[in-house]
């Protein structure tokens, strides 16, 4: 289970850029922008089909602007003022690639009231019906901001949880006021074993100068069926069944 927690933590960090700042994905009161096939094709062309490597901030900024334009959302979110706690001045994008470097999912969040968008099918991303797919032997490329323009979160504190259990938490004074980050998480390198699962992850970040960013999202961790944790579960289950059959079954004994 330590590996599970570690993977969840890594996946959560990788997708936090998109999740945080999005409205609760199950709320259903916000819908992603409607996209026609032509717009979707144009968006898909912007998401590299093969693993692009780690973006630098300028490249990621430029790509984010292009995606925002095609999605017809305002990518410039300057001031949220007294925004509600369900949204926040943060967003970004995340692209997921499998072990072979092939694109398997991509999501985008504008940091506004709308939920994150699945860049490949145009629907709402991170829902239980359309979770963000992550190959536990692949990589996730991400870019996130908070906010898009202006000072970043000062003296921020963040946490990532699942089922109320903390997967990771931290914070930083951020004296320089940095407001964006880009990177790549190689789960194949970071995880000792691949495994598959669907997890719901929640994230929250608060700071001294910005409204809190709170988000919820579903992530689909992918791996071959014959992975160590699945096989281990079968062994544990089989051991329990054998114990029930041969050690816990009632028995008749001769009355003394």
């Amino acid at each position: 289970m330590r590996h599970v927690a570690r993977c969840c933590r890594i996946a959560a960090i990788a997708v936090a850029a998109v999740m945080i700042g999005s409205a609760p994905v199950s709320a259903g009161d916000s819908t992603p922008p409607s996209l026609d096939d032509e717009a979707l094709d144009a968006i898909r062309e912007l998401v590299p089909e093969g693993e692009p490597g780690e973006y630098d901030l300028e490249g990621a900024d430029e790509l984010y602007e292009q995606l925002g334009t095609l999605l017809n959302v305002d990518a410039q979110v300057d001031d949220f003022g007294d925004s509600s706690a369900l949204t926040g001045p943060c967003g970004g994008f995340a692209f997921s690639y499998d072990k072979g470097g092939d694109r398997i999912d991509a999501a985008f969040d504008a940091g506004d009231d709308a939920p994150p968008v699945d860049l490949l099918d145009g629907g709402q991303a991170f829902t239980s019906g359309n979770p963000f797919k992550v190959d536990t032997q692949g990589v996730v490329v991400y870019y996130g901001f908070s906010p898009r323009s202006g000072d970043g979160p000062r003296n921020h504190r963040w946490s990532i949880t699942t089922s109320g259990i903390s997967l990771d938490s931290g914070g930083d004074p951020n004296d320089l006021g940095n407001n964006r980050n880009a990177g790549l998480v190689d789960l194949g390198d970071d995880l000792p074993v691949p495994f598959a699962a669907k997890v719901k992850i929640s994230g929250e970040m608060s700071s001294d100068n910005l409204a809190a960013c709170i988000g919820n999202g579903h992530v689909d961790l992918q791996a071959p069926f014959a992975n160590p944790l699945t096989l281990g579960s079968i062994v544990v289950l089989g051991g329990g069944v054998l114990g029930l059959l041969f050690n816990a079954r009632p028995a008749r004994t001769w009355k003394a």
């Binding site: 329990g240 079954r249 004994t253």
Partner: protein, 99 residues
């Protein structure tokens, strides 16, 4: 058969009693529940979160207890004992001497 009163001999028909193992049922059932919960989570039949996994583990534990109490009982391992014969013990030696 000296000293044995044949009239005091009693024949017992062998009977069996059902012996249950509820504690073993809890332990093995919990193992089944944990294994099943993990397996269902890793094949994505349920989400990898506390609530559904605890429910499945609890169901496995309950199933183990029910099985250990109401499951079909195994037949006795050993053959039935000889028809037991009980008799009045011979009188103590001192009594015989004194009597």
């Amino acid at each position: 058969m000296e000293g044995v009163d044949p009239m005091s001999t009693t024949e017992h028909v062998p009977e069996t009693v059902k012996q249950t193992h509820p504690v073993r049922g809890v332990l093995w059932g919990l193992l089944v529940g944990i294994g099943l919960a993990c397996l269902l989570a890793f094949v994505k039949a349920i989400s990898l979160s506390l609530a559904p996994m605890i429910i499945v583990a609890a169901l496995g534990t309950v199933a183990g207890v029910v099985w250990s109490i109401y499951g079909p009982a195994k037949a006795p391992k050993d053959p039935p004992p000889e028809f037991a014969q009980t008799s009045s013990p011979p009188p103590p030696l001192s009594d015989a001497v004194d009597g």
